[in-house]
């Protein structure tokens, strides 16, 4: 051991120690092929959804905004087409997030990290920024040369143009983001009238900056160092998970190949490094699956292109599974196993969550009742011998029209409901405005009950529809004194 160390030390003269590893800039070469086309399509679709979705209108009547997708923070509402969520129903959001996470796990267990390669915003925007770079500065070699070149006029304007376009895209990205939280047409006019609230301005500045930084500079480092998903997605992998695989059995031993030379006794990899040049995360896939790989398939396109040129079958690098590698070695046919315990239990969980959310939404009451028993004092004895209990009644009118409700209760023989408040309040005529929460302070008067506390249940009836909502509470008679 010590001897080996000495040996290595002798070979590698001690480098000055540094506290950081300098990032080696990646210059991916552009490529054409099936997966590149898929990636373009995914980019167009996801960006179109992102930029255009806030513009979709959805009529909800006069008391609610007409934007299909809107998170209305000042008014504490979230809208998504037919669905409307109040702060009390934030569990829907939780369920949707859990659903999204499990869906990611499900897809990952089947297809590997395709989310990372095709749909993740980090990938999509980085890809878009690379496209801009490619358009202004030229392909891989031209860009690397330009970086090394002295600061001539050409270099300056090319760099300036690239960063200007990047910033424009970043600004548009930030601009679209704030639309999800504000009425888009109104904000649009405000932006052009330069009359935007400081909050919106801060968010736009921050998001422009982060988009520019993440997609222009951090790029693959986000996936490698920052992203937690990237790290734990390998936990969803098994032998049947699709990964980008280099067929080492077929490719090795690799080496340069001249046209007309025999393929006997050597592998099909001609060591052209096309797969390395196109890789957006800067790895060599021939070393096997690596943590950095985002399964985008660009190396597959690059290799297939080369294989076509040298008249060998495609698929030296391809979407593959470990199981298939083993099967080929054992002379068994390839197979794609979709139904595995892992995929099955992810499916079960997904169906369960989706079912719960759907059930919750379909049985969602148009109004809600809450009753909170007053605790100070718990009960009051009145001069006629009756007992009074106070309650804070909260009515959530989730409809988009004003409503009148009548409040009654079950569990007491003879009771009256008294109210204190502004105006002539009557428990059988409670007015609650559209899309509003109203609270009322009521007093229930009844003779002392045999049981204390007695279980009671308030019932709220919508005068127009006849629908009811109930809420359990108690009536406390005390010691009857």
């Amino acid at each position: 051991m010590a001897a080996a160390n000495e040996n290595q030390k002798a070979q590698q003269p001690a480098k000055p120690s540094r506290f950081f590893a300098k990032r080696e800039k990646v210059y991916p070469r552009s490529v054409k092929g099936r997966y590149r086309t898929l990636k373009w399509a995914a980019m167009v679709v996801t960006l179109a959804i992102y930029y255009l979705a806030p513009l979709i209108r959805w009529d909800r009547g006069p008391s609610a905004p007409d934007q299909a997708i809107l998170i209305d923070l000042p008014h504490r509402r979230a809208y998504w087409f037919l669905i409307e969520i109040w702060p009390q129903e934030v569990y829907y959001l939780t369920a949707i997030l859990i659903f999204a996470a499990i869906a990611l796990f499900f897809v990952t267990s089947l297809l590997g990290r395709v989310w990372c390669g095709y749909f993740c915003p980090q990938t999509v925007w980085t890809d878009l920024f690379y496209a801009v770079e490619n358009w202004i500065q030229g392909d891989r070699n031209a860009r690397a040369r330009l970086d090394k070149a002295p600061w001539t006029f050409t270099k300056i304007w090319k760099k300036l143009a690239t960063h200007a376009v990047w910033l424009l895209i970043a600004l548009a990205t930030a601009g679209a983001f704030v639309f999800y939280f504000n009425d888009a047409p109104t904000l649009w006019r405000q932006i052009f009238a330069l009359d935007v609230s400081p909050t919106v301005l801060w968010f736009m500045a921050g998001l422009t900056g982060s988009t520019y930084l993440m997609a222009g500079f951090a790029r693959e480092q986000v996936c490698t160092y920052m992203c937690p998903y990237a790290r734990f997605q390998s936990a969803m992998f098994d032998k049947n998970t699709m990964i980008i695989g280099y067929d080492a059995d077929r490719g090795e031993p690799r080496g340069k190949h001249k046209k007309g030379d025999s393929w006997e006794g050597r592998g099909h990899c001609i060591d052209c490094t096309a797969c390395v040049q196109v890789c957006p995360v800067g790895i060599d896939i021939r070393e096997g699956l690596q943590m950095e790989c985002i399964a985008c398939g660009l190396c597959v396109d690059a290799c297939n292109d080369v294989m076509d040129k040298i008249d060998l079958p495609r698929g030296l690098i391809r979407y593959d599974t470990e199981q298939n590698v083993e099967n080929r070695r054992a002379g068994k046919p390839e197979e794609m196993k979709v139904f595995r315990p892992r995929s099955l239990y992810y499916t079960v969980v997904l169906v369960l969550i989706a079912g719960l959310v759907l059930y919750g939404q379909m049985t969602r009451k148009p109004f809600e009742l809450h009753a909170l028993h007053s605790r100070n004092p718990l009960y009051v004895r009145l001069s006629d011998g009756q007992i009074s209990n106070g309650y804070e009644i909260k009515i959530l009118n989730k409809t988009h029209s004003d409503a009148v409700y009548s409040l009654s209760l079950d569990g007491l023989q003879d009771y009256t409901i008294e109210m204190r408040g502004a105006g002539d309040l009557q428990a059988d005529r409670l007015h609650v405005g559209a899309d509003r929460v109203a609270s009322f302070h009521i007093f229930v008067h009844a003779l002392p009950q045999a049981r204390t506390p007695a279980d009671i249940r308030f019932a709220l009836k919508d005068a127009a529809t006849g629908e009811t909502a109930t809420y359990g509470s108690m009536f406390i008679s005390g010691d009857g004194q």
Binding site: N5, S374, N376, V380, S383, R420, A422
Partner: protein, 309 residues
Amino acid sequence: MSENDKKEIDQVSGIETTGHEWDGLKELNNPLPRWWLWVFYVTIVWSIGYWVVFPAWPVPSGATKGTAEWTQFSRLEKSQQDIAVLQAGYIENFKAAPFDRIMNDEQLYAFATAGGAAAFKDNCATCHGTGGAGGRGYPNLNDDDWIWGGTIEDIHQTLEFGARSGHPETRVSAMPAFGKDGLMSREDIATVVDYVANLPRQGHDLSSKGYDLFQKNCASCHGTEAKGNREFGAPNLTDGIWLYGGSKDTIYKTVYNGRSGVMPYWSGRLDDNTIRQLAVYVHSLGGGEKSEGTENGGSQRKPESPAAR
């Protein structure tokens, strides 16, 4: 020592290890990403900014002040000022509004009860309790048994001038000390106390001696029916709600020694708006009664109260 000084190189990766070992596992001493290191440095620089701007270093007289002169006290002061500015509009409205408008205007009413609730806890809760439930000698403000009246105007007057408070306009009355001052004999007091203590349950027994004694000595204030008189602040003796307690012993003490509890006056101690807010708040606690000639804001005073049993 010399063995330990040597840096150990991992055979597989060729990277130096940190030298630590956990159950046979060793950690590679990989360098950090550059962006990470820069963020780390920036946070250090940022923290220096904190030292300069905010109170930071302990010195004999407390701590360095910081260029922003920030303290929690100044922040509190600022927020109090902000609140005062916010309130100004409401207070103007409230000042101008008479009670019957406040009792019918949702916003004014909400403003009054919110302000009243806060002022109640500061000024009234000491005697009446945080929930207004009172205690021995201090009336429960949640019930409908008012000694001086339960309309918003009555409550306001009691709040403003108090009862036996020493204010020139105070509400005043006295329960005489029948025993101590020799107005009644001990036996008669015992008889009338017996009679009064049973009133809520049994009502009037016109043939009893207690009835005669009551009519002779008590009815001038408490009324022939013993239902009290709010003009004199004489409590209703038939409703089973006792300010000092309903046992015969306690009632005996009340009759023998008299009672003269004090409700302080708040006029001049609290500003008019706060007193009016308190009146609305106390009225909202449950027992508030409707004012004469108005439709809204409370229950009608029940002329006849059926006994519990």
